[in-house]
């Protein structure tokens, strides 16, 4: 019976994803029309995506890592009906903390010191996420608004740190960046792909997703999160403290976001740059929604979004399509997929109403 439940869950995740893949076909058709009308070859999009998932798999893996983690960071609080729109801000704080610790450690620290770097990032992210959570629990402020606004705090704080406090004084040309981290504190690359951008971060992402799945489906914390999300009155009546659950999910979500920041710094940028984050947090919302907030599904949808993201980059590289057009192409894909989700939700609401 138990294996049945697991099979049901995995099946559910797979079905949710495959339904979205059909929407992708629709999106691609729309894009081809758009490209043809704009005077580009309509097949560039297929070329870019094809290459992202075949020849340039390493780039896809590189982008899947933050996408999966951001999806997890969104779906943990979402289960408790808490909306953390501040993942981006928490990523920034994680990146600042990671850089700070990595630069403060002695030059020749062993790679194991990376654990400290990641720990610092997770704590920084969690603390930053707890600010809106505490405000919500004790002052009843709207958590959507506070998390959203704190994104700007995180972003400008990073700019300030990179351009003032932690700025590398020796490199005068690179204005908005910190000193480069020592090489032994770089997150290792995946050896199978040679000298590429694919890194060990993907293992961390997969591990975090599996941990989140374990948390949701196998622990009392997961039970409490689900009960609070489903009916807060009921939870209270049973003696579950919703405020504690809200603090818990926000701290976890912030920690996962912080880890994204640490991976971006230690694996890709190797230093703190002011604008390293292309809005991963908001992509995380779509990733999580796509997977119906199921952490196992997030693994698949995160990988898929990593591919899309990378496909856009590849398109730019291999064709004459300018950057702005690839952004429009990405937007069309995201809009089509989220439209499908919205329609599904509306339909379900209507059905529920008619019961």
């Amino acid at each position: 019976m138990e294996t049945n439940i697991w099979r049901k869950r995995v099946n559910g995740a797979v079905r949710a994803i495959s339904r979205q893949l059909c929407m992708l076909v629709v999106a691609i058709v729309i894009i081809m029309v758009f490209l043809a009308v704009s005077g580009y070859s309509p097949f560039t999009v297929l070329k870019g995506l094809g290459r992202a998932f075949s020849q340039d798999l390493s780039g896809t893996i590189r982008w899947s890592t933050p996408m999966i983690l951001a999806g997890i960071a969104i779906c943990i609080p979402f289960k408790a009906q808490v909306f953390n729109l501040g993942v981006d801000g928490q990523i920034y704080l994680g990146a600042i903390a990671a850089t700070w610790v990595a630069l403060a450690l002695p030059e020749n620290s062993p790679p194991a010191a990376l654990i400290l770097v990641f720990l610092a990032a997770a704590i920084a992210g969690a603390v930053f996420a707890l600010i809106p959570a505490v405000l919500n629990v004790y002052c009843s402020t709207d958590i959507i608004v506070t998390t959203l606004l704190l994104n700007f705090v995180g972003q400008f704080l990073t700019e300030f740190m990179a351009s003032e406090v932690m700025r590398d004084p020796e490199k005068l040309t690179q204005v908005n960046a910190s000193k480069t981290l020592p090489q032994n504190l770089w997150l290792p690359k995946l050896s199978a792909f040679g000298n590429s951008s694919a890194n060990v971060g993907i293992y961390i992402a997969v591990a975090v997703a599996l941990l989140a799945a374990f948390l949701f489906f196998k622990t009392t914390h997961g039970y409490e999160i689900k009960v609070v999300g489903s009916n807060a009155n009921f939870a209270r009546y049973g003696g579950i403290r919703s405020s504690r659950v809200i603090l818990k999910v926000m701290a976890l979500s912030g920690a996962v976001s912080g880890i994204i920041g640490a991976i971006e710094v230690t694996a890709t940028q190797h230093r703190l740059i002011a604008s390293f984050n292309p809005g991963i947090g908001f992509d995380g919302i779509v990733v999580s929604l796509l997977a119906n907030n199921n952490p196992l599904g997030v693994l698949i949808s995160g990988f898929f979004f990593g591919g899309l993201s990378n496909g856009g980059n590849v398109m730019e590289r291999v064709t004459d399509v300018p950057h702005i057009v690839t952004q429009i192409v990405m937007a069309i894909i995201i809009l089509t997929i989220s439209a499908n989700i919205t329609l599904k939700h509306l339909k379900r609401k209507k059905e529920a109403g008619s019961k």
Partner: protein
């Protein structure tokens, strides 16, 4: 005589169950038609089909001889069919007035013509003797009043056919009588009424014809005059049921399971606060609280359970002060609570039956060990509870929202009764539950009492309070105004106290 409604060979299935199997119902124009059956018999399903809320898989609907097909309730309303649901469909944050005129709004230019609406509604209220404060918000009024709003809403839409889905489940005896009067008056004016219920007395009282359903099929129909209570109960449950609850002689223990000393609660919008309530429940005793809905019953249950704080006074559980204890601490000390509103408080709709059953035990061995749940134990116990408490479901992994009201209540009861409590607060334990399940729940309450537990029974059904309680207290405007031992007073005397026309003076001390 013409048929107002003919439901012909309707079949409707939901995942795992066939709710209606080849059901036909014929309703004559201008009659009160009783639709009887246990919870889950398919009464609500067939009425939702008639009201356009769901579509039948097979079969057709004829209205005054013409085949019709409803896409939505709006179609049904336009054809003059109104429905008062078991679970009310009202907007909690809006006023009574706005709820009534929603979708049927008189307009003056682009503004709502509230004056005209109020005048029209006042006419209706006067004509049928229904009184509600139009300016109150829905979340501030009692369950009984909400129902009156629903009825006025239907009348305001000038319905010719009115479906009442278990309307008396939430009413006091006096309110029930006046509702039955209203129904008769509606009938006199040519309305056709469909009365869904499982209270046989009311059926015998007011209906002209009845249709009885069981497990999704019609088991009998005919004029009420040819039926009697025994025959109807046999059709409903398939066998005769005894309405007597087996109980041992009253043998209270010496220990006080619950003691309340001068408890008052703070004023909350739409709620009657408690004023200086003192109450004692001994081991092996059922104390019944009689009172008209909205006289402080909600606060009484919640202040003991710890859902709301006591403003003054103290609550003792097993002779220990728990006034400052959290909800969980009180539960750990042996408190169980069947809340009065199972949808709002008693269950989480999107969670599975199993998850709903686990609320009191999920963090205890063997269901979890150091925060890791043991799914096998959880499922095994859930299945056992479902079986023991006769919850009708294929298995406990279905979401509880798929269950009918009565079955949902069985899940709540299963959870609260199985945790071997010292004190059980049972607030409206049989509200909207069918005969079989009601009998079962009452028997279980009696069993708990006989095994030495203390029980606080809060019920809007006086009959239930009188049949079950060893001691009856009457609550009126947040105060306990009378106290009787079993058999000391009859329902008429208690009724006078319930309505506030009489009160006893010395109450506390035994």
């Amino acid at each position: 005589m013409a048929f107002a409604i003919e439901l012909l060979n309707i079949t409707k299935g939901f995942p795992g169950v066939i709710a209606n199997n080849d059901v036909s119902v014929h309703i004559k124009e201008g009659e009160i038609h009783g639709l009887l059956g246990e919870n889950g018999a398919g009464k609500s399903t067939i009425m939702n089909i008639l009201y356009g809320m769901s579509k039948p898989d097979e079969g057709k609907i004829c209205l005054f001889g013409q085949a019709v097909e409803f896409q939505s309730p709006m179609d049904a309303i336009r054809q003059g069919i109104g429905m008062v649901h078991q679970h009310f469909m009202l907007m909690p944050d809006e006023t009574v007035l706005r709820n009534i005129i929603l979708g049927w709004t008189p307009k003056k230019g682009i503004c709502i013509d509230e004056k005209r609406a109020v005048a029209e509604i006042n006419d209706i209220m006067e004509q049928y003797g229904l009184k509600v404060n139009l300016k109150a918000k829905i979340n501030q009024i009692s369950v009984g009043e909400k129902q009156r709003v629903e009825i006025i809403k239907a009348l305001y839409r000038k319905v010719k056919i009115l479906i009442l889905d278990e309307p008396t489940a939430v009413l006091t005896p006096a309110e029930t009588d006046s509702l039955l009067d209203i129904m008769r008056r509606l009938k006199e004016q040519g309305c056709t009424l469909i009365f869904i219920t499982h209270k046989l007395r009311e059926v015998m009282d007011v209906t002209d014809n009845v249709t009885v359903m069981r497990k999704g099929v019609v088991t009998g129909f005919g004029p009420t005059s040819e039926m009697d209570i025994t025959k109807l109960s046999r059709l409903i449950v398939g066998k005769e049921v005894s309405t007597k609850i087996p109980m041992e002689k009253f043998h209270p223990g010496d220990k006080k399971v619950l003691e309340m000393k001068h408890v008052s609660t703070a004023r909350r919008p739409g709620r009657m606060p408690l004023k200086d309530v003192s109450l004692v429940i001994n081991e092996g005793e059922i104390v019944g609280v009689a009172g008209v809905d909205g006289n402080g019953q909600t606060d009484l249950g919640e202040v003991i359970a710890g859902l709301i704080p006591a403003e003054s006074g103290a609550v003792f559980l097993d002779e220990k002060d728990v006034t400052r204890d959290s909800i969980r601490k009180r539960r750990k000390k042996g408190l169980s609570h069947v809340p009065e509103d199972r949808l709002k408080t008693g269950a989480a709709r999107d969670c599975t039956i199993s998850e709903n059953l686990m609320l009191n035990m999920y963090n205890e061995k063997p269901y979890s060990n150091k925060s890791v749940m043991n799914q096998k134990e959880v499922l095994q116990t859930s299945e056992e509870l479902c079986e023991k408490y006769l919850v009708k479901t294929p298995d406990s992994n279905y979401t509880i929202g798929t269950l009918s009201g009565g079955n949902m209540q069985k899940v709540v009861v299963a959870r609260e009764f199985s945790s071997s409590p010292r004190l059980l607060i049972a607030a409206q334990p049989t509200r909207g539950v069918d005969i079989g399940a009601t009998q079962y729940i009452r028997t279980k309450i009696a069993e708990l009492r006989d095994s030495g537990k203390g029980i606080l029974l809060i019920s809007a059904e006086l009959e239930e309070v009188m049949a079950m309680s060893d001691k009856i207290v009457v609550i009126y405007e947040g105060e306990i105004v009378a106290q009787f031992k079993r058999g000391e007073a009859d329902e008429y005397e208690i009724g006078e106290y319930m309505l506030g026309s009489k009160r006893q003076e010395v109450l506390y001390g035994n």
